[in-house]
């Protein structure tokens, strides 16, 4: 597979390490009332779609960016790649 890195252009997927669903960016608040439940769902439950999937890839043998890759799990077609940091910020994550 080829991943079109937003900063570096097309790179072989072998340079990357895969983590999983990009929802892992949305880590719950540790002080929430139901933090246990939220963390359980965050860490363990997956949409696991047959189709478009937003997922985290780490450019381990490259610039060490975490990317959010939008890829179809039926065809493996990649339609979009973002820096995970930008995605995280857009979701309101900060420090």
């Amino acid at each position: 597979m080829i991943i079109n890195h937003p900063l570096l252009g097309p790179r072989d997927a072998q340079e990357f390490t895969y983590l999983g669903d990009a929802a892992l960016i949305e880590r719950p608040d540790w002080q929430a009332e139901d933090a246990h439940r939220q963390f359980y769902e965050y860490l363990y439950l997956r949409d696991n779609p047959a189709g478009e999937h937003r997922e985290l890839w780490f450019h381990e043998q490259g610039d060490r960016s975490w990317l959010v890759v939008t890829r179809n799990t039926l065809t493996h077609e990649i339609t979009h790649v973002d820096l995970a940091r930008d995605v995280a910020r857009a979701k309101g994550r900060s420090k």
Binding site: M1, I2, I25, W30, H36, F39, F58, W66, A88, S94
Partner: protein, 985 residues
């Protein structure tokens, strides 16, 4: 008589005479021959035996689709089983043996199976061999295994080498027949970066096997002209002997180039084969078509082959399997074969065409509306029986029979991404479907355009269209005058009449009757059919047989062929040597080796090395006279604890953490607090995964307000770094913190033992005060050594002794170990390896990889109090789940044998005394064990249920695996210096 069946002309080099042997018998052929063509030239029709019934088999095809003519090529360590004689290029000195026969090809004792074929029908083995149950492994299975299989390998190490390479192009053209050549030329002239790959050693595809002309030239000459032009273009790479084996994601194709297979041995320094990973922006499949046979009674005798193959042997290789030939077909192309044979002086005894309205195109006898209903000849065909249109039977003598059931477009690669081909009734064949790999288009016969003219024009047009997508303008080629015959075919799959069996899959011995049986037993889906009868599962993957089988099934179910569908085409297109897929990654080069900075020095000391992940580390340093590793290790441990020892600990992960939020960041990464760590101090840190399980432990040293150095275990260096980057970029993207792995930037040595300070004082520059007051336990600092070399010093200890870790830039690592050892001479310093390191950490009760096994919690490690509840850190929330916080959970304890002469064994399970040793009574397990030279007996660390409360209890360590049960006493895990006085000395 040599080469009795050689004709005139052909695309072979007669000047080149090549000697070869088959089953020990000597023959001659010419340059340009394949093993199959050379054998045919010498009158050899019998080349193999089938898989199940050991039926005599000859060559069926003239290409890589060959199911029958499989041989063991070469000998010794280079023996290649199941090699298709039809693609093996002849070279001088070639040796080949027939396979799957005993004692000889002509007389095969296993052919007895054929006599019992009525009992050995499809799937018979599922219905029997069940009684008595124990007999399967002892009797039936060994019998079946010995009978099965095809060729054999030596299993000696492969003496040849293989390579891998990467290629990039605008357009990959797969196949160099008329469509492919015309496509490559179109794209090449347009200036696009083109790769043209073909499996053959002569480019041109069918142009080399036909008598048709292109423009003013013969087809073969035209191909040669185009190839010559392409070879001149710097933007075009022509790759012959290169099979594109598979279509993968995002325009990536795998291809295997057989660099040296046409030579006796690869030239010095050359690989046997190369695996190319081709990344193409567009690809064009011009793989042509494969002829398919018709099934009829006894249609498997040597000498019966595809009509187009017969024509190919005559035209390209100037050989005929026999002087009298019969052709049997259902389409016009069969007649072309007859005409070409006639033109070369081969006697065509008759053309049998199932179509009543068929017309002859040359001077041969046409038996229209007739069918071949039987054949004779045990080791080679002697004659055929034909049911004439009149209903009479006619017997015709012949030494070869060419069969044509029509042509199948070679759709294979279009289906590698699970696209399905579509059935076209007008040409009675499957053609590529609409859902092939993105960026791949198809031209020529592969898409069902069977004439030369349509191949040329579709190739050119498809190339131009693909380039247009890329913004490259290409002009379609002018079309030379050439053959443009329409397809005329009446679909016909098998002759119903006949006394013998009608073979579909000739390698796996699947007959029409087997398909009928599968239908009768409800194995009707094509996949059930394949799996039940083994149709299409042989080395040719059913390239010539699958369609026939599913057409028979379609007849039986009354469904159309389109509805019946095909099984799945999977890579590789043709079988690929595992050697080339592995490339150079074998033996010691299987994986890269990481060496520590002191490696060379350690080698000089005669160190024994051990693999630790990719690293090689010194395991111990034997000295003269030491005959057992324990002697060396005990000495290293004792010397270190007595005076001072040095160990290369560079492999531990090092991560530089910098930025205004560095402390806050580490406070989230570690379960214990880091926000308040003072500059110049080190703290032990426990990292949890988000699921609350211990991920890694190590230290973080604060070199400045905004600068930390984190260490990880060797095994987790990469994971921890990735994890921290995840936290930094994805969880807290606005934190002012930067990370970089510096594992390889710093050479780091542990200097441990009561004399470690005194030793270090000799290398650390005098400006730095190492006294216990100025540089106490858990201090750190940036210093200089040896007169100005920058270094880092950490007063941390894994051994439990007064100890330091000193780091210098990696390039000084070798010098540093030599300087330290020299400086330590007066203290009888020792170098110690990973074994001694392990012994000392067990003596001290430090957890390591065996304890941090991915299932242990802080509580298990006795560190529950370290997990802060007052801050947000990764893993803290889920570490509180009920299953992870049970009071009687496994806890790390120390164990000592009650009888000091007995051994504590890692991996033993723990049982309460007096209970039966079984899983229900299991109390835990021993994680690490070692002989402690300081204590004079074996010791161990263990996870024991409710361990903290069981100190002093004697329990049983059981190891039924090794037959060892030992009474052990539960003790503190800190066997040495439990108060930690030595650390602080």
């Amino acid at each position: 008589m040599t080469q009795s069946n050689r004709l005139t002309a052909g695309r072979i080099d007669r000047a080149q005479v090549l000697n070869f042997t088959f089953d020990g018998k000597r023959y001659q052929g010419h340059g340009g021959d394949t093993l199959a063509s050379a054998l045919l030239a010498n009158g050899v029709r019998l080349m193999g035996r089938s898989f199940k019934y050991h039926r005599p088999r000859g060559v069926l095809s003239a290409g890589s689709e060959e199911p029958n003519a499989l041989v063991e090529l070469r000998g010794g360590a280079r023996q290649e089983p199941n090699t298709r004689a039809t693609t093996a290029e002849l070279f001088d000195g070639l040796e080949a043996k027939s396979q799957n026969r005993w004692p000889s090809l002509a007389f095969d004792a296993m052919a007895i199976n054929d006599r019992f074929s009525a009992f050995l029908t499809a799937g018979f083995y599922y219905k029997t061999f069940m009684w008595p149950a124990a007999f399967w492994e002892k009797l039936y299975e060994p019998m079946i295994r010995r009978a099965a299989g095809l060729g054999s390998i030596s299993f000696e190490p492969d003496p040849d080498c293989y390579d891998k390479g990467f290629l990039h192009c605008d357009l990959l053209v797969i196949g160099a027949g008329p469509a492919g050549l015309s496509a490559a030329l179109t794209a090449g002239r347009a200036g696009a970066r083109v790769i043209l790959a073909d499996e053959d050693f002569l480019l041109g595809g069918r142009l080399n096997t036909e008598t048709i002309s292109v423009g003013e030239q013969s087809g073969g000459d035209w191909a040669g002209t185009i190839v010559a032009e392409l070879a001149q273009m710097p933007n075009v790479r022509v790759m012959m002997r290169t099979t594109v084996i598979g279509a993968f994601d995002h325009g990536i194709y795998g291809a295997v180039e057989r660099v040296s297979d046409h030579l006796a041995v690869p030239p010095e320094g050359k690989p046997r084969q190369i695996l190319w990973r081709i990344t193409s922006r567009r690809a064009l499949l011009c793989a042509g078509a494969i002829e398919r046979p018709i099934a009829f009674s006894d249609n498997d005798r040597p000498g019966i082959m595809l009509a187009g193959a017969l024509r190919a042997y005559v035209n390209r290789w100037a050989v005929t399997p026999a002087r009298d030939v019969v052709i049997f077909g259902n389409n016009d192309d069969a007649h072309r074969s007859a005409a070409d044979l006639l033109a070369r002086g081969v006697h065509v005894a008759a053309v049998v065409d199932i179509r009543a309205q068929a017309k002859p195109i040359a001077d041969y006898e046409l038996l229209a509306g007739a069918q071949v209903v039987g054949t004779q000849g045990r080791l080679g065909i002697r004659g055929v029986e034909v049911r004439l249109a009149s209903g009479e039977i006619r017997r015709i003598n012949c030494g070869a029979l060419g069969v044509s059931g029509g042509w199948n477009p070679n759709v294979h690669l279009t289906c590698h991404k699970r696209g399905r081909p579509e059935w076209r009734e007008d040409i009675a064949a499957f053609v590529p479907g609409p859902d092939g790999p993105a960026g791949l288009s198809v031209a020529g016969a592969a898409t069902g355009l069977f004439s030369t003219a349509s191949a040329l024009s579709s190739g050119s047009k498809a190339a131009a269209a693909a380039l247009r997508d890329l913004g490259i303008r290409a002009r379609a080629l002018p079309q030379p005058a050439t053959e443009d015959a329409p397809v005329s075919i009446t679909p016909f799959w098998h002759v119903a009449e006949g006394k013998g069996r009608a073979w579909l899959d000739q390698q796996n011995d699947v007959t029409v009757k087997d398909v009928k049986l599968a239908h009768q037993e409800n194995f009707r889906s094509v996949e059930h059919l394949k799996r039940y009868t083994t149709l299409g599962m042989a080395t040719d993957q059913g390239k010539t047989s699958n369609l026939g089988g599913l057409a028979v099934m379609a007849e039986l179910t009354g469904q159309t062929i389109a509805k019946t569908g095909t099984t799945i085409f999977r890579p590789p297109y043709t079988p690929v040597a595992l050697g080339v897929l592995a490339g150079r990654s074998r033996g010691k080069d299987f994986r890269p080796v990481r060496k520590t900075p002191s490696h060379k020095w350690a080698q000089e000391q005669g160190a024994v090395f051990v693999e630790v992940g990719m690293w090689l580390r010194a395991q111990w340093f034997p000295r003269p006279g030491e005959t057992h590793w324990r002697e060396s290790v005990d000495r290293e441990v004792l010397a270190t604890r007595r005076s001072v020892g040095i160990c290369d600990v560079t492999t531990l992960g090092k991560i530089d953490v910098q930025g205004g939020d560095a402390a806050a960041f580490l406070n989230r990464i570690y379960a214990n607090g880091f926000a308040k760590l003072a500059v110049g101090k080190v703290r032990y840190g426990l990292m949890l995964r988000e699921d609350g399980i211990a991920m890694d432990d190590g230290t973080a040293a604060r070199l400045a307000e905004d600068h930390f150095v984190v260490t990880t275990t060797t095994a987790n260096a990469v994971n921890v770094y990735r994890h921290m980057e995840f936290a930094r970029q994805c969880l807290w993207p606005d934190m002012d913190v930067q990370l970089i792995s510096t594992t390889e930037s710093w050479a780091q040595f542990s200097v441990a033992g009561p004399n470690s300070r005194r030793l270090l004082q000799k290398v650390v520059d005098p400006a730095f005060d190492l006294s216990n007051e100025a540089f106490p336990f858990m201090a750190c600092g940036e210093i200089t050594v040896c007169g100005g070399l920058r270094a880092r010093l950490f007063r941390i200890s894994f051994s439990g002794e007064l100890a330091y870790e000193i780091a210098v830039p990696t390039r000084y690592g070798d010098a540093m170990i030599r300087r330290l050892m020299a400086a330590g001479e007066e203290f009888d310093v020792v170098a110690y390896g990973t074994e001694a390191l392990g012994v000392m950490r067990i003596e001290k009760g430090h957890a390591a990889g065996n304890e941090l096994n991915g299932t242990t919690t802080a509580r298990n490690l006795g560190m529950a109090q370290m997990v802060s509840k007052t801050k947000d850190s990764i893993g803290s929330v889920l570490s509180e789940r009920e299953g992870l916080s049970e009071p009687d959970t496994l806890t790390l304890v120390g164990l000592r044998p009650v009888d000091a002469t007995q051994r504590v064994l890692a991996g033993a399970h723990l049982m309460t005394k007096g209970t039966v040793a079984n899983a229900a009574n299991d109390q835990g397990y021993i994680t690490s064990a070692a002989y402690s030279p300081n204590l004079g007996h074996s010791i161990g660390l263990a996870f024991l249920r409710n361990g903290a409360a069981r100190k002093g209890e004697v329990i049983e360590a059981v190891s039924p695996l090794t037959g060892l049960n030992v009474d052990v006493e539960v003790v503190s895990a800190h066997f040495i210096d439990p108060e930690g006085e030595r650390l602080r000395a």
